[in-house]
Amino acid sequence: MTLNWKYIGRRFGQMLLTLWIIATILFFVFRLMPGNPLTAYIDPNFTKEQQEILLEQFGLDKPLFQQYLVFLLNLLQGNLGTSFVYRDDVLRVVARVLPNTLYLMLFSLIIAYVVGVLGGILLAWLRGKKGETVGIILTLFTRSAPQFWVGMLVLAIFSFRLGWLPSSGTGPAGVTYASEWAKFTSPVFWKYMLLPSLTLAIYLLGLPLLLMRTNMVETMEESYVTIARMRGLSERRVMLKYAARNAILPVVTAMAVGFGYAIGGNVVIENVFSWPGLGRLLVDAVTMSDYPLAQGAFLLAAAIMVFMNFVADLLYSVLDPRITVEDMG
């Protein structure tokens, strides 16, 4: 496993380029909005002084091209404007809710990938039997059920009917956690996170499971597996020690991509469970025409996605040396 620094450097450059293009698209999309161009940054309800500060900061009285340059400069300094609703720096507002999204995502991904890998091995084990068909049909159910609908059913059953788990938020009304760490280590917080993360995990489960199954079936055909079998090792040992170990590599790569995608998928789940994360913030911002906040939340989600794609590509090139730079386009 040698790292190809030239490839990494080139890929890193591409990542920056991608981010820059996305930021540019976003800049123009947010200027296409209904109303006058100032509405992208200035709430008519701001005080005169606030308005003037923002006017100056973002060069809103200048031509579009200059505004664009100012936008990029501000972006580099982490200045995304002031939220209309929270009356606070956009980056600060976004940073406040980001941990909630990350906890939810990581916890769901871990559940989904552990269960998915094991399920994939099981399905490969059951290949050709009735159990395989049943397993595949069940997996397809998880892929085709709308996430928000699963969330609604889970809520109606476990929260409202049975009363086992809370229905929304990260804690009881009125309770605030002393610090991020206090929240993370609080059993109450985990109780609130259980339903949303299980719902997200059900959806994420399908990809690692089907991928693991296909890879297992393929690696079982490889010569080293046949040789291990000929050496008289038990089928279970052959599957777990030889086949699964290699079949898992592409699943690891998929997890990096899955992390980026989960950011998008989170939007629906966070809204069903009123989970105060990035996705819910974005929807609220759009609904309340809080444009700077919407733009900031979107940009952060995009940045995470682009970065995870970058990580996935690197993992891919390290884990599978047969891939050449040319193949990656």
């Binding site: 996305i22 709308p146 609604m152």
Partner: protein, 286 residues
């Protein structure tokens, strides 16, 4: 080219694909004859003895009960097939055409064109899907065509990558080389030699895209950015969610739209899974 007999043969051999096709046909029929099947207008606030019949549980007149506004849930469900199929098919068509053209041009011509198109694909891969659709729809206005547009702008990315790599491998085959040496034009090579070989793959991605599109429309409508003039399954679920159907345990309201979405999406998977096995015969022998 795919002929009628081979399509019939394909469905005969693959039970999954057959089930998928039957589900599609049923839903298409329901959508076409919605006015004849639905007992009420989906927007009508139905009155019984002069009073609006709201929050009724399923009974003889209201097979699936009524909403909190007194609208017949069964009728809404029937009409909901229309936006679902419209969005599903049109979005899938765009995804298929754009993805195939980008992948084809990129893979076939290579060089600078390829780099440029693949960088573009990278950019599109970096845009979070649901947030993009929400932002675009809220700016352009809530209509199913804006949802379709948002999907057409983003979802071609997977198709383009897959088609490109397929074209790269077909390009190296002997029959394409032979055609080139004998002086065939680019368009002749593309349309007569490469297209027929990538068509099954584009169709597969098209059938997957139908499912994505239906799920996306449902999610966007659920979040409240849907087209208010057309009652879709996502809109029904939004309605149920905001009017406390969950805490009342009104499963007669929540279950049917979700099941319809699931069936339709799954039908697309079944068909494409079947197609996948036809495409990769080695899977079958294993």
């Amino acid at each position: 080219m795919i002929e009628m007999t081979s399509i019939l043969e394909f469905f005969r051999q693959d039970k999954f694909a057959l089930v998928g096709a039957i589900i599609y046909i049923l839903f298409i029929l329901v959508a076409l004859f919605a006015p004849a099947i639905a007992p009420y207008d989906p927007q009508e606030m139905v009155r019984v003895d002069g009073r609006i019949a709201f929050n009724r549980e399923p009974e003889k007149n209201f097979k699936l009960g009524t909403t909190n506004m007194g609208r017949d849930i069964f009728s809404q469900l029937i009409y909901g097939a229309r936006p679902a199929l419209t969005v599903g098919f049109t979005a899938a068509l765009f995804v298929m055409v754009v993805g195939t053209v980008v992948g084809l041009v990129s893979g076939y011509f290579g060089g600078k064109v390829d780099s440029l198109l693949m960088r573009l694909t990278d950019v599109v891969f970096g845009i979070p899907f649901d947030p993009f659709v929400i932002v675009l729809v809220s700016f352009l206005g809530p209509s199913i065509w804006n949802i379709v547009l948002a999907m057409a702008l983003l979802l071609w990315r997977d198709t383009a990558r897959v088609i490109r790599s397929q074209v790269l491998s077909i390009k190296k085959r002997a029959f394409v080389e032979a055609a080139r040496v004998s002086g065939a034009s680019h368009s002749r090579i593309i349309f007569s030699y490469i297209m027929p070989n990538i068509l099954p793959l584009s169709l597969l991605y098209g059938s997957l895209a139908i499912g994505w599109a239906i799920l996306t429309e449902a999610a966007v409508s659920f979040l409240g950015f849907g087209d208010p003039s057309s009652i879709s399954w996502g809109y029904m679920l939004h309605d149920a969610y905001v009017s406390q159907a969950l805490s009342r345990g009104a499963f007669y309201w929540m279950l049917p739209p979700g099941i319809c979405i699931m069936l339709l999406v799954m039908a697309g998977f079944y068909i494409s899974r079947g197609a996948e096995e036809v495409l990769q015969p080695k899977l079958r022998s294993m």
